[in-house]
């Protein structure tokens, strides 16, 4: 019987069994940011402990950085205090910090891959639930709490229960105008927001084989929204091509050895999965969430469910609560809902390919009157390359605000927030009540091109119709 990638990586990183039956697992790569690490450094100081492997921890600042007025001191003294605390902690412990003045700052889950820090066959942890993103490279990547950040700093290990593995096959070609964001929204809708509890999701099948690394990252990123703490794709030539020549990728003779080792950790053909789910790519439509959990999504041509469509009392209660918050009528079309804000960015969809794909269709288009549309590149490097390609001009001409890099309106810990009950078409990952900074604010999750379509028309629209995606020019 063969082994899955998860089992292989787990076994090579398992240090020993703890008294409660959990495993002491080595975390090869640790990523930190300003929100969930300062308390961990404080705990280390309280106990007189130091960082065991400072060269295996990498830091950046993303959640609190403003994206318009970026000179320091920030207008928000608390935010300024947080960035300074991270600087101090990194300097004291000799940790590499991709600070705002390095040209390499950005969202932690974008910085890791673009620097080549994220590598196949490794274990990665970060005090952020979207750490699952790094699984796109065939790493086992965990979101952890602050006490565990402390544990990694002090011991380079955490205490964990072994996960089961669910293989999710998606086969066939995605239809034009359907993106990897739609794939993961479809999976969450199908398996539920808690379906992945206790599982690592292994994504595979011909649809994933064809995806670029950035597309795979979008899917793995939202594994946690389906309850799965870990999501990954087996590494292949696409993975190796992406990593080759990046600053922290193995160089010279070490590269060849690394690739051989990476090939050896992929799941064996005869490995046993705890569960298998098969999905046909052709069944996936551009998907939009209508409610207050990422599982509350529908295809763009579907209606929002009515309360009586809930199968259980608890489902009916959830629909009622969601409709009330979103101010939507059950049974009404999702298409045509008027938006106030369009947000393009986040660790889910703030990468260069996201900005490029939308820019292809934006020329000659204008953001609808009354809609605020903002683009927040995921990192300073994404921003630089996009600017070199002239994408910033395309966005600005269309009426988008072109911002600095960070998490921004995904969770609104910086000045970018919804006001009152504004409705936002968002390329981010969570539509929880209050997520985008206003307790009554409303979020609808969708692919970047669907965000652009909503920005242009002022309402939730089918991007395929708005932009003529997949329609031959002569037709």
């Amino acid at each position: 019987m063969g082994q899955s990638l998860f089992e292989k990586v787990w076994n090579t990183h398992a240090v020993r069994q703890l008294s409660n039956g959990q495993t002491q697992l080595l975390i090869g790569t640790h990523l930190i940011h300003e929100v969930t690490s300062p308390q961990a450094f404080g705990m280390l100081r309280d106990r007189g402990l130091s960082v065991k492997y400072p060269e295996r921890t990498f830091a950046t600042v993303d959640h609190i950085v403003p994206t318009n007025e970026m000179t320091e001191p920030y207008s928000d003294a608390l935010a300024q205090g947080m960035i300074e605390e991270l600087r101090r902690n990194c300097a004291e412990s000799n940790i590499k910090f991709f600070d705002t003045n390095t040209g390499m700052q950005g969202i932690v889950h974008i910085v890791g891959p673009e620097q080549g820090i994220t590598q196949p066959g490794t274990t990665i942890a970060c005090g952020d639930s979207h750490t699952s993103t790094h699984g796109a490279f065939g790493a086992i990547a965990f979101g952890i709490g602050t006490s565990q950040v402390r544990d990694v700093l002090a011991t380079q290990t955490i205490a964990l229960n072994k996960l089961k593995v669910r293989r999710i096959n998606v086969d066939g070609e995605l239809r034009p105008g359907v993106y990897s964001k739609d794939v993961i929204l479809y999976i969450i809708r199908l398996l539920g927001t808690k379906g992945g509890n206790g599982f690592a999701y292994e994504y595979g099948g011909s649809t994933f084989d064809r995806m670029t690394m950035e597309e795979r990252m979008t899917v793995c990123n939202m594994s946690i929204e389906g309850g799965a703490r870990v999501g990954y794709v087996n590494p292949d030539e696409i993975t190796f091509d992406y990593l080759k020549g990046r600053p922290y990728s193995p160089q010279g003779s070490a590269w060849k050895e690394a690739v051989e080792s990476w090939k050896s950790i992929t799941s064996d053909a005869d490995c046993n999965y705890d569960d298998v789910v098969d999905i046909n790519a052709a069944d996936i439509e551009p998907t939009v969430t209508w409610g207050i959990t990422p599982g509350q999504g529908v295809g763009i041509n579907e209606n929002i469910p009515a309360v009586d469509e809930g199968k259980t009392q608890s489902e009916r209660d959830s629909i009622t609560e969601a409709l009330e918050h979103m101010q939507f009528e059950g049974g009404s079309p999702v298409k045509g809902k008027k938006i106030d804000v369009a947000f393009l960015g986040s660790c889910t969809n703030g990468r260069l390919s996201d900005l490029q794909e939308v820019a292809k269709y934006l020329k000659g288009r204008k953001v609808a009157e009354g809609v605020q549309a903002i683009v927040v590149p995921g990192s300073q490097i994404v921003s630089l390359i996009a600017t070199e390609l002239g994408l910033d001009k395309i966005y600005k001409e269309a009426g988008f605000e072109w911002r600095g890099a960070g998490c921004s309106m995904c969770l609104a810990m910086n000045p970018d927030k919804l006001i009152g009950d504004q409705l936002c078409a968002s390329s981010s990952n969570r539509n929880f009540k209050g997520r985008q900074g206003s307790p009554t604010g409303r979020t609808m999750l969708m692919s970047p091109l669907m965000v652009a379509a909503a920005a242009i028309t002022g309402e939730i629209s089918d991007a395929r119709e708005v932009f003529g995606v997949g329609v031959p020019v002569s037709a």
Partner: protein, 200 residues
């Protein structure tokens, strides 16, 4: 700094109904602009309790009958979303020692257990019975017996479940795992030496 074993927790309860109570609901992100966890208890469920102009909403959390509660009862998938430890920290700092839910999100469950917050799952039907009992008698003492998988209230009980690692770490007193992780540090070094990327 070994922790005290936790064999049972007792106190009065409060019911916060709903499935998928996410970490943004437990502690909105705007209250995470801090470098310590001190004072977070004040912001627990802030937007659930308060209107936008800061007035109290009608909610069990604002009902003086439940003001001394130390056991939180909620729905399925409690704590979904973010890995922010600010969520269980705010629960603990608001005076809660235990959460009874239909199910828990994984990262939240681990974070809570590390702090010694007892998290147990109870079926929908049994939570309804428990919820009604509290509604009738808010002063009802609830006791969660970690060893025995039981939640007692008055002379009744319902059975509860816990993850195996969590249960034994509470009973042994190793729910904060740092001491035990430090004890294994020599083996950590040995494991690290077998991994080329750790020494690159």
């Amino acid at each position: 700094m070994a922790s005290e074993p936790i064999k049972q927790v007792a106190g009065t309860g409060i019911y916060v109904p709903g499935d998928d109570i996410d970490t943004d609901r437990i502690i909105p992100a705007r209250f995470m602009k801090c470098i310590t966890f001190d004072g977070l208890g004040e912001y627990l469920f802030y937007d659930v309790r308060k209107t936008e102009d800061g007035a109290d909403k009608k909610h069990n959390l604002n009902d003086p009958r439940f003001s001394g509660a130390s056991i939180l009862i909620s729905g399925n998938n409690f704590g979904c979303g973010s890995s922010r430890e600010h969520a269980p920290q705010s629960i603990r700092r608001a005076g809660f020692n235990a959460v009874i839910a239909g199910s828990f999100a994984e990262i939240f469950y681990g974070n809570s257990t590390n702090l010694g917050i007892v998290c147990v799952t109870v079926t929908d039907a049994d939570r309804e019975v428990l919820g009604k009992a509290i509604e009738v008698n808010p002063g009802l003492e609830i006791t969660i017996d970690v060893n025995d998988h039981k939640v007692w209230f008055g002379d009744q009980y319902v059975t509860c479940d816990m993850r195996p690692g969590a249960r034994s770490s509470l009973l042994i007193g190793t729910y904060d795992p740092l001491d035990e992780l430090l004890e294994g540090i020599e083996e950590v070094t040995k494991t690290a030496e077998t991994l080329p990327y750790m020494s690159a």
